[in-house]
């Protein structure tokens, strides 16, 4: 029988209590712009990203994070500090992302997360914007000879736990009477390895994620993405509920990126446009007229800085997602047929 001294028992209890107290820091609890204050005091933005998804968030060979979702983190850092390097990236899994944001471990998540009613309400989050319209699909080995998802009856399907993907899959299988055996692995890399090794017949996630996975395989032609899209997956950055100032800033950064594409303002010509573009809305956006930036609580030329660092929405898309074979599709501007990306007036 092991006997602890009283002292050590109390120290253990105290340690456990302290550890659980730190999970909910007092700094992040008040309404208002506590997040912005904390970020400014710290001097860096802490951004939760995917642990590794080609095109969206992945460290390059020098260990620098790159991708479409990463650019949103950089844009927020530029708007606040005019310095895209003032971001600390925290890789998160599908399962730990929400706890990381709830507990204040990260300031925001920019991590292919689907907007749903329950996440917006009972999880205590806000989705400021939809940065990418996606849908769930299936990928199979081309050699399997499967043409549509309906043919997958009896198959083993690889799926990440704790995602809307998992629930969509069960909803879809029930509606279409397709029986399946799940293989549920938390880390995306391990899951993809299991799929590639043949543990599963099909791999399901958002179509963008399938394209990203397919692009990094040794022989992408060995894999086929089935035409069926079984769900709507509006993806976007998310922040804690109750911090409207921060939520507003993230929302209008997204709108600024979209509006800049609409007005043809790019990383290359933004300086010139800020100086000489005669369109009144462009002048307001870029801070030559009015004080829209100050209303957001940042520098009036915030959008000039952002665009110089990341380019507009279209440039971000072309840089990160076009190379891995993702089409603009619903993510084209609203001025293109079928496009959904739309920015409200800058006024």
């Amino acid at each position: 029988m092991v006997q602890f001294s009283r002292h050590s028992v109390f120290r253990m209890i105290g340690g456990a209590l302290l550890a659980s107290a730190m999970a909910l820091p007092a700094a992040a609890q008040q309404a208002g712009s506590a997040t912005l204050d904390a970020i400014r005091a710290r001097g860096t933005l802490i951004c939760g990203v995917n642990a590794g998804l080609a095109g969206f968030a992945q460290p390059d060979s020098q260990g620098v994070w790159r991708g479409f979702d990463v650019d949103y983190c950089r844009a927020v850092a530029v708007a606040l500090f005019n310095d895209a390097s003032k971001v600390r990236y925290v890789p998160t899994t599908a399962q730990n992302r929400f706890t990381a944001l709830q507990s204040g471990e990260v300031d925001m998540l920019s991590r292919n997360t689907t907007l749903t009613l329950s996440r917006d309400t009972s999880l205590g989050f806000d989705f400021p914007a939809i940065s990418f319209y996606d849908g769930q699909g299936f990928m199979v080995k081309t050699s399997l000879g499967v043409r549509t998802a309906r043919e997958l009856d009896g198959a083993t399907i690889c799926v990440q736990p704790g995602t809307t993907t998992e629930q969509n899959l069960t909803d879809w299988s029930r509606a279409n009477r397709v029986r399946f055996t799940p293989v549920v692995i938390e880390r995306l890399e391990d899951l993809v390895n299991a799929f590639v090794a043949g543990r599963c017949d099909a791999f399901t996630t958002d179509v963008s994620g399938l394209a990203a996975t397919r692009a990094v395989q040794a022989r992408p032609a060995d894999y086929t993405i089935l035409p069926d899209v079984i769900s709507k997956e509006p993806l976007g950055p998310l922040v804690r509920h109750g911090d409207q100032r921060f939520s507003d800033l993230v929302r209008w950064i997204h709108f600024g990126l979209v509006a800049a594409e609409e007005f043809g303002i790019t990383a290359a010509n933004v300086q010139e446009a800020a100086a000489s573009d005669a369109r009144p809305e462009v002048q307001r956006m870029l801070g030559k007229n009015g004080d829209l930036g100050r209303m957001l609580g940042v520098d009036n030329v915030w959008l000039v800085n952002v665009l110089r660092a990341t380019g507009n929405y279209g440039e971000m898309f072309d840089r990160s997602l076009t190379p891995i074979g993702i089409q603009r599709g619903p993510n084209a501007l609203w001025t293109t047929p079928g496009g959904l990306q739309y920015a409200p007036p800058f006024r």
Binding site: F98, S118, R119, R174, T181, V184, I185, N193
Partner: protein
């Protein structure tokens, strides 16, 4: 251990002294310190609790266990009880607990057998046998368990696909979808037979006990085994025959993407079980070796001098003494195996941690989810501890 060992001088209570309200009084000092400590801990707990509740309210995060009755919608590959994604979170979590128990119970039994074998092997006088056992222990103990689990899972994935599966014996298939075997179509008669066999074991045990008591009384050894065989094997067979002797075998067959029919052991379960058993067996081997070595050589020699055979020496003299040393660290190893089974998350075996994690992710109720995981492990671990402590007390040296 018992009252008899207490010195009679200490049986008398010391004379009671009236409390003096002074710092110099040892009892008053004791009370003050205890009130202080309890008060501080109480207020820390209160502060943590109210802070958490406040934060949850501010962020509009739902609380409570109401979600348990909502539809789970999460798919689970392996379940011991019927389960469908339309079932509730409560049922999904129950499936998770049973999956944890399935790997823990089987793992403990197998690890004990393997560990004991290797521990005895390491004591062998045969050079090769003892070195192989020593090599096994040193290698297995030195590698992180997670690494070993991932290794076994990768090995499983390296097996051929279902359409090229290995088929060593008629009806047995080995592929990266698992090990498929023919299975008995389970019916009520089989459950009855199993219950009859359990009853048979109990009756055989009682019979053996009374036979031993009689032997103690008159010194006549009695044959137990004919009655034991009749009770343990004959009784269930008789019950099964009486209920119509149903005997249908379900054969696994490749249909479409996967095998249908038969029974299967999934690669995830197999990898987790093999990983846990081989890892824990390395520790158990050392515990067993230490236990046997702790028995004085004099005991071996004395037993041999009495003319006992080596098997009897081990069974009657050495093991009863070694077990006293073995049981307490063995309990720790059983607890470790059970807790280590939570690494299942990494290789996709849906145990309680995996399912509770998914639940807390989908409902957003992290505190409740973690509380459920803690309660489950605490219950399992305390049950193991209680049982092992009871067993330890039973085999402990009875001092008089």
């Amino acid at each position: 251990m018992s009252d008899a060992t207490v010195d009679p001088r200490f049986r008398r209570k010391p004379p009671k002294r009236p409390l003096r309200l002074s710092w110099a009084d040892e009892r008053i000092r004791g009370i003050v310190w205890q009130v202080l400590v309890v008060g501080v801990i109480g207020s820390i707990i209160y502060w943590l609790w109210s802070n958490t509740v406040h934060n949850l309210e501010v962020r509009r995060i739902a609380t409570g266990f109401g979600f348990l009755n909502r539809e789970a919608g999460l798919p689970i590959a392996e379940h011991l009880i019927p389960y469908d994604p339309t079932d509730t979170y409560l049922r999904a979590l129950t499936v998770g607990v049973l999956n944890t128990l399935k790997v823990a119970v089987v793992g403990i039994v197998l690890a004990t057998i393997l560990g004991t074998t290797i521990g005895i092997m390491r004591l062998s006088k045969n050079f090769l046998v003892s070195k192989i056992a020593g090599f096994y222990v040193e290698v297995i103990r030195d590698l992180p368990l997670l690494l070993q689990l991932l290794f076994w899972y990768t090995v499983m994935q390296g097996l051929p696909g279902p359409r090229q599966s290995m088929n060593p014996v008629e009806g047995v298939f080995l592929s990266n979808r698992g090990l498929l075997m023919p299975a008995l179509q389970w019916e009520g008669a089989h459950t009855a037979a199993v219950l009859a066999s359990v009853a048979g074991i109990v009756l055989a045990w009682l019979y053996g006990r009374s036979a031993r008591a009689k032997q103690m009384a008159d010194g006549q050894p009695r044959r137990i085994w004919p009655a034991a065989v009749a009770l343990i094997l004959g009784l269930p067979i008789a019950v099964w025959l009486a209920l119509g002797a149903p005997w249908t075998i379900s054969w696994p067959a490749l249909r479409g993407f996967n095998f249908r029919g038969g029974m299967s052991i999934s690669p995830e379960y197999a990898a987790l079980l093999i990983g846990l058993v081989t890892y824990t067996a390395g520790f158990i081997a050392e515990v067993v070796r230490a236990g046997i070595l702790s028995v004085n050589t004099g005991q071996w020699e004395a037993a041999q001098a009495l003319g006992l055979r080596s098997g009897s020496v081990l069974r009657l003299i050495v093991l009863p003494q070694a077990l006293r040393v073995i049981i307490p660290p063995m309990t720790s190893n059983y607890l470790n195996l059970t807790k280590n089974s939570s690494l299942a998350v990494a290789i996709g075996y849906q145990d309680i941690v995996s399912i509770a994690n998914t639940t807390l992710n989908q409902t957003g109720q992290a505190i409740e989810g973690i509380a459920i995981i803690m309660a489950v492990y605490l219950t399992i671990s305390l049950s193991i501890s209680l049982f092992m402590n009871w067993y330890n007390a039973r085999i402990a040296l009875v001092e008089r």
